[in-house]
């Protein structure tokens, strides 16, 4: 069964065509990356699939549920981490995780505390956290409910090398346990390491799609960055 099926998805903001008709599939347990520079429509695609904005045209299904029709059912099996997400500043880290656990049938607060890896600081107010600490807390929140599909927009944004690496390993660990990941990133080296398959986006369309190794081979490139530059030439 395909985890995500997207067919000719379009999204307009008034006269601006942010997404011009894209199609892709994500297999169950796969880490799929939407790759491209800022402003090409990656976040818009993720927001449509996360059911927080409406598509203008096309079709999208998540584990058989149709986006736009079965949104309430979709929200029960997905978890979304926005790029610039924040947390409630007056809450302590631990209280934030407990608060979020109220909304899911299965959620493991202890596992979330382990993922957040904030030590004793988990008992401090979120307003005292650094950007990196907040991001780790939010990643923990996104994964604690063991979602069938985790949609992560720039998951390592704002994290230092060590923390970013930890988060990538956690994503791989959860993917091995069966969670499907749809992530976006403009860090092409990161996705090369992390993703099973990627779609390169430019100007609201997918310009290339495939496994990172095969794409590098196809374009005779040393890395995905080089592939992207050759594709958009």
């Amino acid at each position: 069964m395909q985890a995500v099926v997207v067919e000719n998805l379009k999204k307009n903001y008034g006269k601006i065509k942010a997404v011009k008709g894209i199609s892709f599939n994500v297999k169950k347990g796969e880490i799929f990356g939407l790759i491209g520079p800022n402003g090409v429509g990656k976040t818009t695609v993720l927001r449509v699939l996360a059911t927080i904005i409406k598509k203008s045209d096309g079709k999208a299904k998540i584990f058989g549920y149709e986006v736009g029709k079965d949104d309430e059912a979709i929200r029960k099996i997905i978890s979304y981490l926005p790029e610039e997400a924040g947390a409630y500043k007056n809450m302590r880290g631990i209280d934030y995780l407990k608060f979020m656990s109220n909304f899911f049938q299965k959620s493991d607060v202890d596992k979330a505390i382990e993922i957040a890896n904030l030590g004793e600081r988990i008992y401090d107010k979120i307003e005292s956290y650094s950007k990196g600490m907040t991001r780790r807390l939010l990643v923990a929140r996104a994964l604690m409910a063991m979602p069938k599909l985790a949609i992560l927009d720039e998951p390592t944004s704002g994290l230092d090398v060590v923390n970013a690496n930890e988060i990538r390993n956690i994503i791989k660990e959860y993917a091995a346990m069966g969670t499907t990941f749809l992530i976006s990133s403009h860090n092409m080296l990161e996705v090369e390491y992390l993703c099973h398959r990627i779609a390169l986006m430019n100007n609201g369309i997918i310009v290339e799609e495939g496994e990172p190794e095969k794409l590098m081979e196809k374009y005779d490139a040393k890395n995905i960055e080089e592939v992207f530059l050759k594709v958009i030439k």
């Binding site: 996360a50 203008s56 979304y80 981490l81 926005p82 997400a85």
Partner: protein, 390 residues
């Protein structure tokens, strides 16, 4: 469980020292002002401290001094010296008016000095009146008949209801309702409304809204959570204001109870329904308005129209009752949902139930429409992209 968690989150985010401390501060200011006014009233009940110097031992002068001493007393700090000259009694005996001299000693120019001054003037008026009675009685004339040749009994009729009380007493009684209730309701609407709009602005500024919208909860629950959370905080804050305000208003000593005007259990239930629906209308309207807030700052600006809608009926109803208003003003007051609980106490005391029911029906309709719009907005792109169109 999920809704309770949402409400708890809202209360926790909104009930911060930044929202509570100003309310406590205002409560203390009102209480302090009430205490000051209460102190002035107490002062007004006291005999003024006056020094009386009499150079006349005649019977009229002695009588006059005795009466003054009944209403005044000599203290360490006298507000005036009254000098009764040698020819005081002689002038009266000759059929002329006597003359006294008053030298005032002002402690300051503040309003707190005026009760003692008024009390001394009252003492002089009483002394003059009693002296006049004495003179008349010496001439075998009935002084009480001369001073008060006509006695009267009075009744007031309001809304076809006959009340055994003078109109001033009725107006004072209704004023006590029309002063305190609209102020407290205005504070509740402005505070809770501001809180809801700010909460929307904060969700956007702190980037928590996107996460909230992807949680497996109904959009209507998010709206309800915000409304109930803000109501709880609004009621807490309004209660603090009310404590101070109650003390402040009671210091005026107005609103003495009148037989025939009282609220029954049903009246209190209707008042509570009117208040609840008005708060609901205000908060759901604020969620609709708050959806347009981009951040906390813009939320502050957006709360202004709601504040105006609460302040306008408060002022109008403080000075005029609904029935004596012109038709355009009546329509304006009726369509503002916050007016209804403001005028409810007066309407209930007058047993004008039809207007209470119309008001409740209107605010219920207004709230329902606003909640439907708010829930619809939460289902559109507006909160995230600022646009409704696909």
């Amino acid at each position: 469980m999920r809704l309770a968690a949402l409400i708890f989150k809202e209360v926790r985010e909104l009930l911060t020292p930044a929202t509570i401390l100003p309310a406590i501060f205002m409560m203390l200011i009102f209480a302090g002002m009430g205490n000051m006014i209460g102190g002035m009233e107490k002062k007004a009940m006291q005999k003024p401290n006056v020094e009386i110097i009499s150079y006349d031992n005649g019977s009229y002068a002695n009588f006059y001094v005795n009466v003054l001493e009944k209403y005044c007393e000599e203290g360490k700090k006298n507000i005036a010296t009254i000098i009764i000259p040698q020819n005081f009694s002689y002038s009266i005996e000759k059929g002329g008016a006597a003359e006294i001299k008053i030298k005032w000693f002002l402690e300051g120019t503040g309003i707190s000095s005026s009760p003692s001054i008024s009390n001394l003037r009252h003492a002089i008026t009483m002394a003059n009146k009693e002296l006049a009675s004495k003179i008349l009685e010496e001439k075998n004339m009935n002084s009480s008949l001369i001073f008060s040749p006509v006695h009267y009994t009075e009744k007031s009729v309001i809304k076809n209801k006959e009340i055994n009380a003078p109109p001033e007493k009725i107006i004072s009684f209704f004023s006590s309702q029309s002063m305190s209730v609209p102020i407290v309701i205005m504070i509740m609407i402005v505070t809770s409304g501001g809180i809801v709009i700010s909460s929307m602005g904060m969700e956007k500024e702190n980037k928590t809204l996107e996460t909230l919208l992807t949680l497996p909860i109904k959009r209507s629950h998010i709206v309800t959570g915000k409304i109930v959370g803000a109501s709880v905080v609004g009621v807490v804050i309004a209660s603090l204001y009310m404590l101070g305000l109650r003390y402040y208003i009671s210091s005026f000593g107005i609103g003495e109870k009148i037989e025939g005007f009282n609220l029954s259990g049903i009246d209190y239930a209707l008042l509570s329904i009117s208040l609840f629906l008005s708060l609901l209308a205000g908060l759901s309207l604020c969620i609709v308005i708050g959806s347009f807030a981009r951040n906390y700052k813009s939320a502050q600006v957006l709360s202004l129209p709601v504040s105006i809608l609460a302040i306008v009926p408060m002022f109008l109803l403080m000075f005029q009752d609904f029935f004596s208003m012109d038709l355009p003003l009546k329509i304006l007051i009726f369509i503002i949902p916050f007016s209804h609980p403001m005028m409810a106490p007066s309407l209930l005391l007058l047993k004008e139930y039809s207007w209470i029911i119309y008001g409740i029906a209107y605010t219920a309709l207004f709230s329902s429409i606003c909640i439907l719009i708010a829930t619809w907005i939460f289902k559109t792109d507006l909160l995230i992209t600022g646009r409704i169109r696909k």
